[in-house]
């Protein structure tokens, strides 16, 4: 792995938000964040609300420019990639709220058909349909049940799976999952996480998994970055960070996570 270029390399990323005209208030949402994601890795960004996890993700997705710092995708500065489609062929995202990811006016099929614009090669309509049906069966959705429906007719879990199907059609090298399960029922949540892990193994893409739920981060990730007030306070392998936390903040954080199989001494 040493001579191989990491999939994603984030270097000294900083984002400062400025608001106000006369009384200017500055908030540094992300300050001096650096980490790398290698091929096939699942890296979790863990932190409480307001710690800058989603801002980091938005910068990596080129949804907002950083104040300073650089992001390299396979060694190439992402802000030098001019053509948007070139970038989004390689980096894809699943957001928190599945309902907000769909246009309510259109049938959900449109999302999958449009996804072919970001896939290499040209396909006839018939080929597209075949690929879609095959992909949907891979993620455990019955094509007859979901195709031709509108977003409000499906549950959050189904829509989130559907968005994963879209990712599979595009075949990116990096998937950014920003709290993908927080709006899904507890009983379906494990299914989505298992599916994500399975697909990652089959398709061999890397994942940046953003969550406030420490249990989920432990369940899915290989590497963990703990964020606090815009900074990464601790980073390391899953077993090391969660088994032997070094930073006092990580220790306090892990100490507060309720465990299903034991009680706190209150």
């Amino acid at each position: 792995m040493t001579n191989q270029e990491p999939i994603l390399k984030v270097e000294n990323l900083t984002k400062i938000f400025i608001s106000g005209l006369i009384n200017i208030v500055t908030v540094s949402a992300v300050s001096d964040v650096s980490f790398t994601i290698d091929e096939g890795e699942v890296v979790s960004l863990v932190g409480e609300s307001g710690s800058g996890k989603s801002t980091t993700a938005n910068i990596i997705l080129k949804l907002m420019p950083p104040t300073s710092g650089q992001v390299f995708l396979q060694g190439k500065d992402i802000f030098s990639i001019r053509k948007r489609t070139d970038f989004y062929k390689k980096v894809q995202v699943v957001f928190q709220d599945p309902y907000a990811s769909f246009n309510l006016v259109y049938k959900i099929d449109r999302v999958l058909y449009n996804a072919f614009n970001l896939r290499k090669g040209s396909f006839s309509k018939h080929e597209k349909k075949e690929i879609i049906i095959e992909t949907l069966s891979k993620i455990g959705l019955n094509a007859d049940e979901v195709l031709g429906r509108y977003p409000h007719q499906l549950s959050g879990g189904q829509l989130q799976r559907f968005l994963l199907a879209r990712v599979l059609i595009i075949k990116p090298i990096l998937l950014i999952a920003d709290e993908p399960t927080s709006m899904i029922d507890a009983s379906s949540r494990a299914g989505i996480l298992n599916l994500l892990e399975e697909l990652r193994k089959d398709e061999n893409f890397s994942v940046l998994f953003i969550t406030h739920d420490i249990a989920q981060a432990q369940y899915i990730s290989t590497k963990v970055c703990v964020m606090k007030n815009g900074e990464i306070v601790e980073t390391g392998l899953n077993e090391t960070v969660f088994g032997h936390p070094q930073h006092p903040y990580t220790q306090a954080l892990l100490d507060s996570v309720p465990d299903l199989h034991s009680r706190w001494e209150l």
Partner: protein, 328 residues
């Protein structure tokens, strides 16, 4: 067994509109004094609806249909509304709804808000000094400074507002505190403080019992003695918290418990979890028979036609389950 504090019998409530949606469809349980009872279930299963109906203050569009809710000697849907408002609410039973921190008045200082509450509940007009004396003690008990009384809600953090609301709702030391998802809007570190605070309130005998509504079973586990599991408007299993987690009986509870992503403090990665196939049914048109049968792997033909009764198990004390599998 100590005396019953809360008796709920065959309670039904529905939302009106184009359809009648039964959010709570025949729920029966008892709660004894000194008990912390958990109410767990997924979103949309009716747990908040149940809490609202028990509180006697269902929001518009939610209507009480039938059943009995008895708190101490008061049958809250039979007594006069004025009596309910001045004698039962806040004094015997307090209800802290979900996102209750938003219920503070944004244009009033906390102390003025408390004045309003006291005036409304007692129909007396106490002086500001009396209120400060009364409230300051409660505020320090929940870990808030006395100065907070003079602040506006926007000057407080989410956790502080939540504490303030809990302090206000326990001003008269009610026997029962119904608290709906107190931890879900908070960060993990504040969640632990919140659970510790509830525990301390009970330890200091400010409140005697808690009905703790939450979707987060790992949090419930830290506090509750007993637990109700709700699915699709009905209670499917009740039992001691430890029994529910260690030996769940109802297929739904089994699926739910085995699908919870739980943190392992020793650093080993958790085993692969299973999830329940399918989705929750539409409450407008619940499935006949057992409501869980379309997703149940052990469903029999009997389950599809007849609704199972709540069964008391002879070999397990205090562990009831609503499932045909246990009918001998």
């Amino acid at each position: 067994m100590s005396k019953n504090l809360l008796i709920v019998e065959d309670l039904r409530g529905y939302y009106t509109g184009a359809f009648q949606v039964y959010g709570v469809d025949g729920v029966t349980f008892n709660m004894s004094e000194g008990e912390i009872l958990g109410l767990a279930g997924e979103s949309g299963c009716g747990k908040s609806t149940l809490a609202e109906l028990i509180s006697g203050a269902p929001r518009p569009l939610l209507l009480y249909e039938s059943g009995r809710v008895q708190v101490h000697e008061y049958d809250i849907y039979q007594i006069d509304e004025e009596l309910l408002r001045t004698e039962v609410k806040c004094k015997i039973m307090s209800y802290v709804p979900q996102a209750s921190m938003e219920s503070l008045n944004p244009v009033k200082r906390i102390i003025d808000f408390i004045m309003d509450v006291v005036r409304e509940r007692t129909r007396k007009k106490p002086s500001k000094k009396e209120i400060i004396n009364l409230a300051a003690e409660h505020f320090t008990r929940v870990g808030l400074d006395k100065d907070v009384l003079k602040r506006y809600p926007h000057e407080l953090s989410g956790g502080m507002k939540q504490r303030a609301v809990i302090a206000i709702s326990t001003l008269w030391n009610p026997s029962l505190l119904i608290i709906d998802e107190p931890t879900s809007a908070l960060d993990v570190t504040s969640q632990k403080q919140m659970i510790k605070m509830l525990y301390d309130l009970k330890k200091e005998q400010i409140i005697k019992s808690i009905l703790f509504v939450s979707h987060d079973i790992a949090s419930l586990r830290q506090l509750c003695d007993r637990c109700l599991i709700m699915y699709c408007g009905v209670v499917v299993e009740t039992g001691k918290m430890d029994d529910i987690i260690n030996e769940p009986l109802h297929p739904y509870t089994q699926g739910l418990v085995s699908s919870i992503v739980s943190f392992n403090p020793d650093g080993t990665r958790p085993a692969v979890l299973r999830s329940i196939p399918g989705d929750q049914p539409d409450l407008r048109n619940p499935p006949p028979g057992c409501r869980f049968h379309p997703r149940c792997l052990q469903a029999m033909t009997h389950c599809k036609k007849f609704e199972p009764p709540m069964l008391q198990l002879p070999d397990k004390k205090d562990h009831d389950v609503k499932c045909w599998l246990f009918k001998k």
